[in-house]
């Protein structure tokens, strides 16, 4: 019997997996964070406190978690690690996506590209007075303090493991009898890396690029020198060539391209999401699938691999990817691959992201014999046997036969 506890962080993820055994139970923490615009009714500190208290009750010595997984660097997955209380928690292993490996040149380059794109977008939105969107982009910027804890913190000198996709190959899971783990993402294959690359420099990059790299010249400021001697001020032009005069509104429209920036923001969001550690945890007969926030693009290589695909069909518990977004779970996955699973969805509706979670996906995951436990909805959960709720709604916990 294993349990998976879903903390009600709001729009974010935090899951505590417990496998009982003789003596102290085996514990795994998958993510701990909340989106800046999706805070739940319980603040993150109280959730961190509850996690630590829960594992502290396991034994008289200091609190211990066997494995801490930070699926990817988004705030809604790691913000909770920016907390001093973690210094006293002993951790066996920390799993991070390979893109966080400080000694991997590819990883550093990719991270720098993502970081630069996020900074540029943030500057762009902030300069335009769109604080709301600026804050959304901030979710992609690495949370340095939380990342420091994950890379260097915790007691007990944990081993850091940088995870990349290994296909349908079982890896041992020390401490869990009959347990093993399959690493399904993020991919390292260059063919699949595109899904992680930040958006290419677009028009929105132009002003800040010039600010950042003086070598590129003064960009917009240099533009008047583009064709020395051929420049005509607007007034003169209109007087000399009245037949070429056009509406000022049309000319002004050349400068604005709001959708372009949104594309960039969404591409960046996905790029980081697709760096998620995706793994399948086998405990006896139970197969627990944790895909992080993988989106369209990261799933494709998995579904194309026959061995992995057949492995996925045996999933018994599914942590719904990307809070149930429109493309976090491919339709194919929901309709063809998954069987009678119990799904856990951690989400809180945010106004801007009105269709997260996506209705059709929720409906599909609710269709018997499937069950769905969510941090917000209450319908039909009573029917799900083996789900416990915290008295004040701090978490919900599912029990799984192993």
């Amino acid at each position: 019997m294993a349990t998976v506890r879903m903390y009600n962080v709001g729009f974010g993820d935090s899951f505590l997996v417990t496998v009982p055994r003789r003596g102290r139970p085996w514990r795994m923490l998958v993510d701990c964070g909340v989106h800046m615009q999706g805070a739940g009714e319980h603040d993150l500190d109280s959730i961190v406190e509850d996690i630590i208290n829960t594992v502290a009750a396991d034994s008289d010595t200091r609190p211990r978690i066997d494995v801490v997984v930070a699926t990817h660097r988004h705030r809604d997955h790691i913000a909770g690690f920016d907390n001093e209380r973690w210094h006293d928690v002993e951790v066996g292993e920390v799993w991070l996506p390979w893109v966080e490996d400080p000694e991997d040149a590819d990883a550093v380059a990719l991270r720098n590209r993502q970081q630069a794109a996020a900074l540029n977008l943030h500057t762009h939105f902030a300069a335009g007075g769109d604080d709301d969107r600026a804050e959304f982009v901030l979710n992609s910027l690495s949370n340095d303090d939380a990342m420091w804890v994950l890379q260097n913190g915790f007691a007990g000198a944990p081993k850091r493991r940088y995870i990349s996709a290994q296909g349908a190959k079982a890896h041992p899971l020390p401490g869990v009898r009959g347990g093993c783990v399959y690493f399904l993402g993020p991919p390292r294959d260059p063919r699949n890396l595109a899904a992680m690359d930040p958006p290419k420099a677009q028009r929105w990059l132009a002003p800040s690029v010039t600010a950042a790299s003086p070598a590129a010249g003064a960009g917009a400021a240099a533009a008047p020198d583009l064709f020395p001697g051929f420049t005509v001020p607007a007034g003169d032009f209109a007087r000399r060539h009245p037949h070429l005069v056009v509406d000022d509104k049309l000319l002004a429209s050349f400068r604005e391209e709001p959708v372009d920036t949104l594309t960039a923001a969404s591409l960046l969001d996905r790029a980081v999401n697709n760096t998620s550690v995706m793994f399948l945890l086998q405990v006896g007969d139970a197969l627990l699938l944790f895909p992080g926030d993988a989106q369209w693009g990261a799933w494709q290589p998995l579904l194309d691999d026959a061995d992995v695909r057949s492995l996925l069909t045996r999933t018994t518990l599914y942590k719904v990817s990307h809070h149930g977004s429109h493309n976090g779970t491919p339709v194919e996955m929901a309709t063809d691959v998954l069987g009678g699973v119990l799904s856990l969805i951690s989400v809180r509706p945010i106004e801007r992201w009105a269709h997260i979670p996506k209705e059709e996906l929720v409906a599909s995951l609710l269709t018997p014999p499937r069950h769905l436990v969510s941090s917000v909805f209450v319908d039909n959960e009573a029917a799900v046997t083996g789900v416990r709720c915290h008295p004040t709604g701090l978490w919900k916990e599912a029990e799984l036969a192993t």
């Binding site: 290419k200 420099a201 677009q202 028009r203 132009a206 790299s213 070598a215 590129a216 010249g217 960009g219 917009a220 533009a223 008047p224 583009l226 064709f227 051929f230 420049t231 005509v232 001020p233 607007a234 032009f237 060539h241 037949h243 070429l244 056009v246 049309l250 000319l251 002004a252 429209s253 050349f254 400068r255 391209e257 959708v259 372009d260 949104l262 594309t263 923001a265 969404s266 591409l267 969001d269 996905r270 989106q295 369209w296 977004s325 429109h326 493309n327 491919p330 339709v331 801007r352 992201w353 009105a354 269709h355 997260i356 996506k358 059709e360």
Partner: protein, 604 residues
């Protein structure tokens, strides 16, 4: 007024008006020109008097730079000093050459379209296509249908780390890339011919727009004889070798840090299942391009086989060493003829395309129908080659029984029992088209317009109302006449063929749009028919798209219910792939996410 007319008459008496205007351009782009040492060429466009800009009857180039907030001096192509040297010589440093190149390339493209369409081209409301060669600083160029149909070209600094064969950080002008100009202008032309193709109602609509624009850009390469000669010589008649001839926008692609041309006519190895896995419009469009070029390469190989045998004493295997220049010229002529023929087929297909919701299958069927009209026997096997090209790329026509020529053609409308179209309207349209051919661009219309379009539209509207069911316009909705014209073309037997085409558009009632619109992400629900009649008014073909109908509504047709179902499925599929969804309004997510500016910026 009188004086001026006399002055014009006097001048005209002194010198005959020229027919053509030669203009120098980069054959591909400045980077390819520099690498090859000589790749500039002179193209000849129809003569019209021009004001500075250049500003002609159909095209107007306005050089406003939004990044610098200024204008650049417009070129006067009628200045004798410019005329003496076939326009300004190609250079990156003079914006007036940039304006000249945009004008020249778009003019040549328009002429090619007019030839294929068999009628004079006009923009909606007799406006002009306005092109802005340096509209903004950015790695993009776009056609904006909502801003009155403007072409906007950006310029940018080449990638610092991976500039390809450019100088790191050098300025790359999208308006100096032949392919980008043609691509964007083709968007404008397609938009003129089928305005509603800007509405993404299925996976293929935008892919068609993109693929068609790419195919036209590539085929335009084959209109330049000296360039085709050179690559045929260089690659010993092999057109499938990677050359600028079959690549799109090399400088742009390399300058953007992609390390290669933007796109290419040479797709991946044919894989019929690829199309089911490809959703992004440019990539899906590339499959269409690859299919068309498969057909072209096959046709070309067939066409030159005898020449090669003659040149090699029957073996057909070229010996080592340079090829005889006479052979190069003959082979090049075959290549250009085949390219022109296939491009013409593709453009002519428009006559049969439905007014809304185009699919690759519709396009293939229209190509076959249009070409069969003129060349019933397909003696040179071009049509067969094209059909086979489509098949190998997994583009199958829907609702046909076989891949045979006649099965692919749109069905004959004789069993619809339609009455002939109003004779007066037909006569007026035919006369108008005939008169249009006699007039040179840029001259005042000498003859009065032969008819009042509003009168014709009213008559044709009444025709539709009298024959709703038989025209496939059943179901609730408002009928509008979307367009009508006549077209003159020559068939293989030298006979003149005259067709009259009428397009009807049907929009669902506002309450239905309101009921489903939000769930469909803001897509407008429309159906329509393209009606093709001959010069006697007899209706030969009716190509219909049923208007989407609510299955619960009274008078719901099977076709209409199926259309709504199709729309819903497409939106569901779109939601699964689109990344922008969380950032835009839910009830207009599809139309906000899918527009030319955005999809071009995502890939270009």
């Amino acid at each position: 007024m009188m004086m001026r007319a006399m002055a014009v008459a006097e001048q005209a008496a002194r010198y005959p008006e020229p027919d053509r205007r030669p203009l120098q351009v980069f054959a591909f782009d400045p980077m390819v020109a520099r690498l090859s040492g000589q790749e500039t060429t002179v193209i000849s466009v129809p003569y019209e008097p021009l004001s500075p800009g250049p500003s002609g009857e159909l095209i107007q180039v306005i050089d406003y730079d939004s990044a610098a907030g200024c204008y650049y001096e417009p070129v006067d192509l009628d200045d004798p000093r410019v005329l003496l040297q076939d326009g300004l010589p190609p250079t990156e440093r003079d914006p007036r050459f940039h304006q000249q190149m945009v004008y020249a390339v778009v003019s040549a493209l328009l002429e090619n379209f007019e030839r294929a369409l068999g009628r004079r081209f006009r923009w909606r409301g007799d406006k002009r296509l306005r092109a802005f060669p340096h509209a903004f600083l950015g790695r993009n160029a776009l056609f904006d249908p909502d801003m009155d149909g403007t072409l906007q070209f950006g310029y940018f600094r080449a990638d610092e780390k991976n500039p390809g064969r450019n100088l790191p950080g050098q300025t790359v002008f999208t308006c100096l890339s032949h392919d980008i100009i043609v691509h964007e202008a083709t968007h404008a032309l397609v938009h003129r011919l089928r305005e509603r193709y800007k509405e993404p109602t299925n996976l293929d609509v935008y892919a068609f727009h993109e693929g068609f624009a790419d195919a036209v850009a590539l085929f335009q390469h084959f209109t330049l004889p000296d360039i085709v000669d050179r690559y045929i010589q260089q690659n010993r008649t092999d057109l499938t070798a990677r050359t600028p001839l079959v690549d799109l926008a090399e400088q742009f692609g390399e300058g953007s840090g992609m390390g290669r041309a933007l796109r290419s006519a040479l797709g991946d190895a044919p894989d019929p299942s690829l199309i089911n896995r490809t959703f992004e419009p440019h990539r899906r469009g590339s499959i269409l391009v690859a299919a068309i070029f498969d057909g072209f390469f096959t046709a070309y190989q067939t066409a030159i086989a005898d020449l090669l045998r003659i040149a090699t004493a029957g073996s057909g295997v070229l010996p080592a060493g340079a090829i005889h220049p006479d052979l190069v010229r003959r082979v090049s002529l075959e290549a250009r003829t085949a390219a022109q023929r296939i491009l013409t087929m593709c453009i002519r297909a428009f006559q049969y395309l439905p007014p809304v919701d185009v699919t690759f299958s519709d396009f293939l069927r229209s190509i076959v129908t249009a070409d069969r009209d003129l060349y019933p026997s397909d003696e040179d096997g071009l049509r067969t080659a094209l059909i086979e090209g489509f098949r190998r790329r997994g583009i199958y026509p829907s609702m046909v029984t076989s891949l045979a020529d006649e099965a692919l053609s749109w069905p004959d409308a004789s069993d619809r029992n339609l009455p002939p179209v109003d004779r007066e309207v037909i006569n007026a349209l035919v006369l108008d088209t005939a008169v249009g051919f006699r007039e040179r661009r840029g001259e005042a219309q000498v003859t009065k317009p032969v008819f009042d379009p509003a009168w014709a539209a009213a008559k044709l509207h009444q025709y539709a109302l009298n024959n709703l069911d038989r025209l496939g316009l059943a179901g609730p909705g408002r009928i509008k006449v979307d367009g009508f014209h006549a077209a003159f073309r020559h068939g293989s037997n030298g006979q003149l063929r005259v067709d009259v085409v009428i397009r009807y558009l049907q929009s669902v009632p506002p309450e239905v749009q309101e009921k489903f619109g939000a769930a469909l992400g803001g897509i407008a629900m429309r159906g329509g028919s393209t009606v093709v009649a001959d010069a006697t008014g007899r209706v030969r073909h009716v190509i219909t798209k049923a208007v989407p109908t609510d299955p619960d509504a009274a008078g719901a047709t099977d076709g209409g219910v199926a259309r709504l179902h199709g729309l819903r499925q497409w939106v569901a599929q779109f939601d699964g792939h689109d990344l922008l969804a969380p950032w835009v309004k839910a009830d207009s997510r599809v139309v906000q996410s899918l527009n030319f500016g955005r999809i071009d910026s995502a890939v270009m």
